[in-house]
């Protein structure tokens, strides 16, 4: 339960950074925190106290203590997607810096209306 609240806290910290920070790099870090929080939560979904790996090592073994392996596989996929998005965000941030010579989003405002 404490772990779930820690996840929620992490998510809120990340959202706070995305919404309030002016520096593009900090926004990206905030976004990464949000993503980690969701991934961590997803991994916790498969958690089981005193769980064991879901591998049958001897015949007739009880399967009730097996940890659910699906969330872990899904989280791996989500992490890879997160890697791609973070890489693209950082690439965009680099190009923005080359053009605008700043990371401050309040100075990167040409589109409006």
């Amino acid at each position: 339960m404490i772990a779930l609240f820690a996840c929620m806290l992490l998510l809120l910290i990340g959202l706070y950074a995305v919404v309030t920070k002016r520096n593009i790099i900090r926004i990206i870090i905030g976004f990464s925190l949000v993503e980690y929080a969701v991934n961590l939560f997803f991994a916790l979904v498969g958690f089981k106290r005193n769980g064991i790996p879901p591998i049958i090592t001897e015949l007739g073994q009880s399967r009730s203590n097996f940890v659910d392996p699906v969330p872990q596989a899904l989280v791996l996929t989500a992490i890879v997607i997160g890697l791609a998005t973070t890489a693209l965000m950082l690439a965009l941030a680099m190009r923005i810096y080359e053009k605008y010579r700043t990371f401050d989003i309040t100075e990167i405002r040409r589109l409006k209306g």
């Binding site: 976004f31 949000v34 939560f41 659910d68 699906v70 899904l74 989500a78 965009l92 040409r110 589109l111």
Partner: protein, 501 residues
């Protein structure tokens, strides 16, 4: 029938996306050729699938790797899928054909076509998938490639719009992932059909509504409903015109409207009868989108920005159609999905033609283009008439069905609002015609030439579709849109169709 053609919707564009960079080194023009060939194959596949479903058959199911549901990924091709796949691939092919010459001013053609193919792979994947996590993966594939495409020009505006779009879009994507995690925690499976059966057994607890809310936030960002629309008027105009056509024409509808309807109607089994609050919320967002998008579109001087606000407004029509929630309103919403895909795709292509020929999108600097670019001018005019709901074009019937739905649900004020705001739509779209295409007294016509043949053909393709959907609305309604609306209304009937029996 053999359903083994369904995976090709994802395989064809995905393989092409990786072939394009390989062949680009040998021969530069091969990128455009390969991409267009793949686009044509995809359109052929969606027509093939739709024609098969016309003969009154149930949904087609394909099990990836032969794994039974609850374990493996299931692909589903029902009438709703057929409708969305047709829209995606028709607009996709037109945009690809248009890109061949439009990219003259750009470098790195193979990067463009490769990313474009990945967007198409994602959109088709979202359309055919029957698995929650698979849905998320395809949403991310198309979304991440679209961020790169929006920033493709790598100039000041494009980079700013791309970054803004990416941060907001990814927050939406993360909300969807969180919702899927919670759903998995409750249902212990990801197959949509099985999830829907399991969820039917759970009560409407606060957690249930929290999951629904998380999905709604994610899809609301993807479809740019007001007040989640802030990124769209920046992102869609900044992308190259064929990409704008794809994004505004089908992207926001597949990732937003289609995915949301699938999850809300078929997985959660929501309907007007058992969840009136949810549907009223959709109505409220829809009305807000129609009004805010329509009024903001009036104030625009930039050709594509005007069209982008118009998209926000037209998404509102689809939302009120879904929000009213009876048969005719949902038919209207789905018909508007088709009509707006063809119409707005067409208008974004004409804006691309104008930009290609004159080098500007500023409506105050354009004048009298009708003489020099007749095909573009007429495409724009007819597309505008369709979106504004003038008979006999497609947009008329969609709005008619929504109004019928509103009246039969005794929501007269909605019917009045829908009719009223189609005149607003007509107003801002015709103002483009007045400013850019007709001669102005105080100004010389802008010098321009008609665009190359491939670009004209691309516009004609969507123009023909717009007219055909309107003139031939009866067969479209009977064979495609009607059954697709049934797919949504049946709600949990989806599970029976997919699992068989």
């Amino acid at each position: 029938m053999d359903s083994s053609f369904i995976p090709l919707f994802v395989v064809v564009p995905m393989v092409t996306a990786f072939l394009i960079p390989l062949f680009a080194k040998l021969w530069q023009r091969s990128s455009a050729l390969l991409a267009n060939a793949a686009g044509a194959v995809l359109l052929g596949l969606s027509v093939y699938g739709a024609v098969y479903l016309f003969t009154d058959s149930p949904a087609l199911i394909y099990r990836m790797g032969g794994w039974a549901p609850t374990l493996g990924i299931t692909l589903v091709y029902d009438h709703l899928t057929a409708l969305v796949a047709l829209a995606v691939n028709a607009v996709g092919l037109a945009a690809l054909l248009f890109s061949v010459r439009y990219l003259d001013h750009y470098t790195g053609h193979w990067k463009f076509f490769s990313l474009f193919m990945l967007v198409l792979a994602g959109l088709n994947g979202v359309t055919v998938t029957g698995d929650m996590f698979n849905l998320f993966v395809f949403i991310e594939i198309s979304a991440v490639s679209s961020y790169a495409l929006v920033a493709f020009g790598t100039d000041f505006d494009e980079l700013e719009a791309g970054f803004k779009y990416m941060v907001i879009g990814e927050i939406g994507g993360t909300a969807i992932l969180l919702a899927i995690a919670l759903l998995y925690a409750k249902a212990s499976t990801l197959n949509m059909a099985v999830v829907s059966q399991v969820m039917a057994g759970f009560g409407r607890t606060p957690l249930f509504w929290f999951i629904v809310a998380m999905f709604l936030v994610g899809f609301a960002v993807k479809m740019a409903m007001v007040p989640f629309h802030a990124w769209l008027p920046d992102a869609h105009p900044s992308a190259p015109a064929p990409v704008s056509a794809l994004l505004s024409g089908v992207f926001i509808k597949v990732l937003g409207v289609y995915a949301m309807s699938r999850v809300m109607f078929n997985v959660f089994g929501l309907s007007r009868a058992n969840a009136p609050a949810f549907f009223n919320l959709l109505l409220a967002f829809g009305v807000l989108s129609i009004v805010a998008g329509g009024l903001l579109a009036y104030a625009q001087k930039d050709y594509k920005r005007l069209l982008a606000y118009s998209s926000v407004s037209q998404i509102g029509y689809i939302l009120i159609g879904l929000g009213i929630g009876n048969y005719w309103a949902i038919v209207g919403a789905l018909f508007h999905l088709l009509a707006h895909a063809a119409g707005k795709g067409l208008l974004f292509l004409t804006s691309g033609s104008v930009e290609y020929a004159t080098g500007t999108r500023d409506l105050d600097k354009l004048s009298g283009l009708e003489k020099s670019m007749p095909a573009t001018a007429w495409s724009h005019l007819l597309g505008s008439l369709s979106l504004a709901g003038i008979p006999p074009f497609a947009g008329f019937f969609s709005k008619l069905f929504i109004v019928i739905g509103a009246v039969s649900a005794r929501m007269y004020w909605l019917a009045v609002l829908a009719a009223l705001f189609s005149t607003v739509t007509l107003g801002y779209l015709v103002s483009v015609v007045n400013r850019a295409f007709f001669a102005r007294k105080d100004r010389e016509p802008t010098p321009a030439h008609e665009v190359p043949a491939t670009m004209v053909i691309a516009m004609l393709l969507l123009l023909v579709l717009t007219v055909a959907l309107g003139v031939g609305f009866k067969p479209v309604l009977d064979k495609l849109v009607g059954p697709a609306a049934e797919n949504l209304i049946q709600g949990l009937g989806y599970a029976r169709a997919v699992l068989g029996g």
